[in-house]
């Protein structure tokens, strides 16, 4: 049986995670001769994404996978798809609850748990170093307004006081998922605060940017860097001993899970509504257990 599946991604090319996701998705589809895919990119623009969903409905695809630019704004478009009897699978970051009725399944990482795990990594390290009662940290968050950025920050901020109540989060500034921007933000933090013990960055690109700033200022030794979405740069920096830990999340798993979920839905199998795939902690201590990320 032949299926045509359409996907509209959030913003390909903005980082290598999304690019690798796209490639992995296409490869997975090519490997399966029963599937043809239409791959679209919303370029971060919700209007364009809604238009793409409409186009996919118009093209009468069999299923639509959506990586929402905004978890709520796409709900009416998703409703249109479901009214046209096209099953919708949400990938990577979920849509809001009022839309659950129109969605067949969600597949992706749990960003809140990720943030919480990063907080745990940070706290464990401080405890090892014996500074858990005095440490001061700063946070560099992702692009303002994006679900992933918001959820990770929320998970981190909620979990940290539970595990390490005496660690203070001094300030949060956005690094826009951008290494250069994050480096600039960190430079200012370094001037402003004489004592920084830890940096939590919303992803490893930003984490490495912050690390670069600290290196230039000669203060990288004193700071524990923890990120998320372990990029190749982050993995390398960990290997060099400058970067402490991150969250291991594979875009290939993400993409394959999305496609598989879609196929399962089309084949009428019973799929759980929330399909989280696991994103484990990775630190200098256990990094040998993981392969170096390809992106």
């Amino acid at each position: 049986q032949e299926y045509t599946i359409g996907i509209t991604q959030n913003n390909v090319g903005v980082d290598s995670y999304q690019t690798t996701y796209e490639q992995a998705f296409i490869e997975a589809a090519e490997a399966n001769e029963n599937v043809e895919v239409v791959v679209l990119d919303a370029g971060g623009d919700v209007a364009r994404q809604i238009a793409q969903v409409e186009d996919l409905i118009q093209q009468e695809v069999d299923a639509i996978i959506i990586w929402p630019t905004n978890g709520e704004a796409v709900i009416p478009a998703v409703r249109k798809a479901s009214q046209a009897d096209i099953p919708v699978i949400v990938t990577n970051s979920n849509i809001a609850e009022p839309g659950f009725d129109f969605v067949a399944s969600f597949s992706g990482p749990d960003n809140i748990t990720q943030g919480a795990r990063s907080a745990e990594i940070m706290c464990d390290r401080f405890t090892e170093l014996g500074i858990q009662d005095e440490a001061q940290i700063v946070q560099i968050s992702g692009q303002p307004g994006y679900t992933t950025a918001i959820e990770r920050a929320q998970g981190f901020e909620d979990r940290l006081p539970e595990v390490c109540p005496n660690v203070t989060l001094m300030e949060t500034q956005p690094g826009d998922w951008n290494r250069e921007k994050s480096q600039q933000v960190m430079e200012a933090f370094l001037v402003k605060y004489d004592d920084i013990d830890g940096v939590y960055a919303g992803d490893d690109n930003m984490g490495v940017g912050a690390l670069n700033a600290a290196r230039a200022a000669g203060r990288s030794e004193d700071i524990v860097f923890v990120g998320a979405t372990n990029f190749a740069v982050g993995y390398e920096a960990m290997g060099e001993g400058d970067y402490w830990g991150s969250i291991y999340q594979s875009p290939v798993d993400d993409a394959e899970a999305a496609l598989q979920t879609a196929l399962d839905v089309l084949n009428g199998e019973d799929v759980p509504f929330l399909n989280y795939f696991d994103t484990p902690k990775i630190t200098q201590d256990n990094m040998d257990e993981f392969e170096k990320p390809v992106f």
């Binding site: 623009d45 919700v46 364009r48 809604i50 009468e60 709520e72 704004a73 478009a77 303002p144």
Partner: protein, 333 residues
């Protein structure tokens, strides 16, 4: 037919010719590359095209006047977002929530008012300080965006009202609500530009500001009215779009200014002011939307889309110039 009418027609119609080319190309290429069985030229698809052109298109109408005036507005994307925030948030205010669906027209009014006020701020600064509109609006592009974030932090602002969604998704005589707004705005602005004193003065000011001042036209208030208008239209665009989508990210509308300006210039409006046509702007908007849609239809990937859109812009410009080139007798300056 006067001599030269045909070439003038060709030159003026360059954008429409380009649209036809796009249509032909995508429907042929679609046969080979598209996985869909539906033709690109399917009427339903073309109606969708118009609908999808609305968010950029409505703003582009305002930008046409602003640019005919010799100004520019880079803050439309941020205005769009802030109006959307007001639209959706106001419906959750207790007294509004109590009104039920009667809150909808009121929320629309609030949003439109927001746009007009933001436009007035730009206009007032341009008028009173004499700072170039480019800088003023470059600044407020940041400033208004800051206001969007201040309103609700980094969180999206959402209010899903199904009555509103149904209204926005409705089709009347086959055309979507958004399409009606786009066509309506185009018609109104056309009338303003061609039939009213305000419109004619807009051309005069953009063409030769000195002359307009010498003739006693009050240039400051005139430009301010146009900024109010574009603010209003940016808000109208938000109203039309977010009535349907029900949620606004604080980043929404980013880069809209560039797309809008591109559409307007593609339509033949001069950046230096003084000339331009509302109808051609509509052509520019459709041409861009067609390009995006068509490239999606034939399954082009992100890098190709970027590359092609960029090169096509330049090609259209080149085509337009070739059509507009005067004969050999032209002065080579």
């Amino acid at each position: 037919m006067k001599p030269g009418t045909l070439s003038t027609f060709l030159a003026r119609g360059a954008i429409w010719g380009f649209i036809v080319l796009e249509l032909i190309f995508f429907s042929i290429a679609g046969q080979f590359f598209s996985v869909s069985d539906n033709a690109f030229l399917d009427p339903a698809n073309m109606l969708l095209l118009l609908k999808q052109s609305a968010p950029i298109g409505i703003i582009a109408m305002g930008m046409t006047i602003i640019m005919i005036n010799g100004n520019i507005d880079l803050s439309v994307g941020a205005t769009f977002a802030l109006a959307a925030v007001v639209l959706l948030d106001s419906m959750t205010w207790p007294f509004m929530a109590a009104m039920g669906d009667w809150a909808i027209p009121l929320a629309w009014t609030f949003a439109l008012l927001t746009g007009a006020v933001l436009g007035a701020i730009n206009g007032l600064i341009v008028w009173k300080t004499g700072v170039d509109a480019f800088i003023v609006t470059l600044g407020s592009m940041l400033g208004f965006r800051g206001l969007v974030f201040m309103y609700n932090g980094e969180q999206p602002t959402s209010h899903l009202n199904w009555t509103l969604v149904d209204f926005a998704e409705a089709q009347f005589l086959g055309l979507h609500t958004a399409t009606w707004f786009l066509l309506g705005v185009t018609a109104v602005i056309w009338v303003v530009m061609h039939r009213t004193i305000h419109g004619r003065n807009a051309y005069a000011i953009g063409d030769n500001r000195e002359a307009a001042i010498n003739a006693g036209i009050r240039v400051g208030p005139h430009m301010m009215r146009n900024f109010v208008l574009i603010g209003f239209l940016a808000a109208l665009s938000a109203v039309v779009f977010y009535s349907e989508s029900g949620s606004v990210n604080p980043n929404d509308g980013q880069l809209y200014e560039l797309w809008v300006i591109t559409a307007v210039v593609l339509g033949g409006t001069k950046l230096t002011g003084g000339s331009g046509s509302v109808i051609s702007t509509l052509g520019g908007v459709i041409a861009i939307q067609l390009l995006r849609k068509g490239l999606g239809h034939i399954g082009a990937d992100t890098e190709t889309v970027n590359l092609v859109i960029g090169l096509i812009l330049i090609a259209v410009l080149f085509l337009d110039r070739q059509l507009n080139v005067k004969g050999k007798e032209a002065l080579r300056t």
